[in-house]
């Protein structure tokens, strides 16, 4: 159990709800993942029906909702979307995405910070999706963010923690801030590594939704985040340049001693 913005959470895995083969697979994957927090978006209704099956599914899943501002490219768009999300979902949590480049979906740090400042003024708890620049992360904290979500790699790329040193530095320099690796995670080992580095959680979607068996992969990520956190708490051994025998040298049989003497 851990605390995030006054919420008690069991899981350190935040799961996206997009791209699943079917609504049933989504529900089964959410259950298998053990997640407490799922991400959602706002879009124009595409079908002619006035019903919204996804809305009913969210009610059934009964998880903490983290709406996003995906697709926004300016602070103004993101602020409007966040305001709409707050009313629709009844939460002041917002995953703030302001995209600066359509090829890499890299966040626009300037628009992000502008939107962040305004939304915090309006009472939101902002989860900014940002790149792994320490100074940007510090500025977001200065603006009032209690959670920072640097990317591991571009959204949907599945490349893992491309710049682990930068992520490590952010963890070291912001020891009291909740850190979540958001985007780019493709395998459970990536998630475990993020938790081993001391990150508080990971947020992912495509790695589960696009897996051959999304439900099994959701469970794999559940176990990986648990293992990563346990490893972080256990304290990893210090790395060494040279080999150090783990088996005691004292009491070696005579033929080993003869080999050493011959050298």
């Amino acid at each position: 159990m851990w605390q995030l913005l006054g919420e008690s959470l069991n899981s350190r895995l935040f799961l996206g709800t997009a791209q699943y083969p079917s609504p049933q697979v989504l529900s089964d994957a959410v259950t298998a993942s053990g997640t407490d927090v799922i991400t959602v978006s706002l879009r124009r209704q595409m079908q002619s029906s006035t019903g919204n099956g996804f809305w009913q599914q969210l009610k059934t899943l009964n998880k903490k909702i983290l709406p996003n501002t995906a697709g926004c490219t300016s602070a103004k768009e993101a602020i409007t979307t966040a305001q709409m999300a707050r009313e629709l979902f009844g939460t002041h949590w917002i995953k703030l995405e302001v995209i600066g480049d359509q090829h890499t979906l890299q966040p626009d740090p300037f628009e992000l910070l502008t939107a962040c400042r305004e939304l915090i003024q309006q009472g939101f708890e902002v989860f900014p999706y940002c790149n792994d620049d320490l100074i940007l992360c510090q500025r977001l904290v200065d603006a009032g963010c209690k959670v920072i979500m640097p990317w591991g790699a571009p959204i949907g790329s599945g490349r893992g923690l491309v710049n682990e040193r930068a992520l490590t530095l952010i963890r070291q320099r912001l020891p009291d801030i909740n850190l979540v690796v958001d985007a780019g995670i493709g395998a459970p080992s990536h998630a475990a590594r993020a938790l081993e580095l001391g990150y508080d959680a990971v947020l992912l979607n495509t790695a589960v939704a696009n897996a051959g068996d999304p439900v099994a992969m959701a469970q794999a990520f559940k176990l990986a985040t648990q293992a990563g956190r346990l490893a972080f708490m256990a304290g990893q051994m210090a790395q060494r340049e040279m080999a150090v025998a783990s088996t005691p040298v004292i009491g070696q049989p005579f033929w080993h001693q003869a080999t050493v003497a011959a050298k």
Binding site: R43, K76, A85, L88, N205
Partner: protein, 67 residues
């Protein structure tokens, strides 16, 4: 009649008094939604005060899957 944009599509409607009147007359209204007019969020309690005039762009958004 006036022409407005609803979720990006032009629609000709009788000039409504306000957003609330428009929504009551609009057949495609989903059960759960949030609204922006001309890229500005309009809270539900402000629908009766939100004027709708020719050329306005109304966005009616619903919950959708997201990452």
């Amino acid at each position: 009649m006036i022409t407005i944009l609803v979720n990006g599509k032009p629609e000709q409607i009788p000039a409504p008094e306000n957003l609330q009147n428009f929504l009551q007359a609009w057949s495609g209204l989903p059960e759960h939604y949030a609204i922006a007019v001309n890229q500005q969020f309009v809270a539900k309690e402000n629908y009766p005060q939100q004027a709708i005039t020719a050329g306005d762009a109304i966005e009616i958004l619903v919950a959708m899957q997201g990452g």
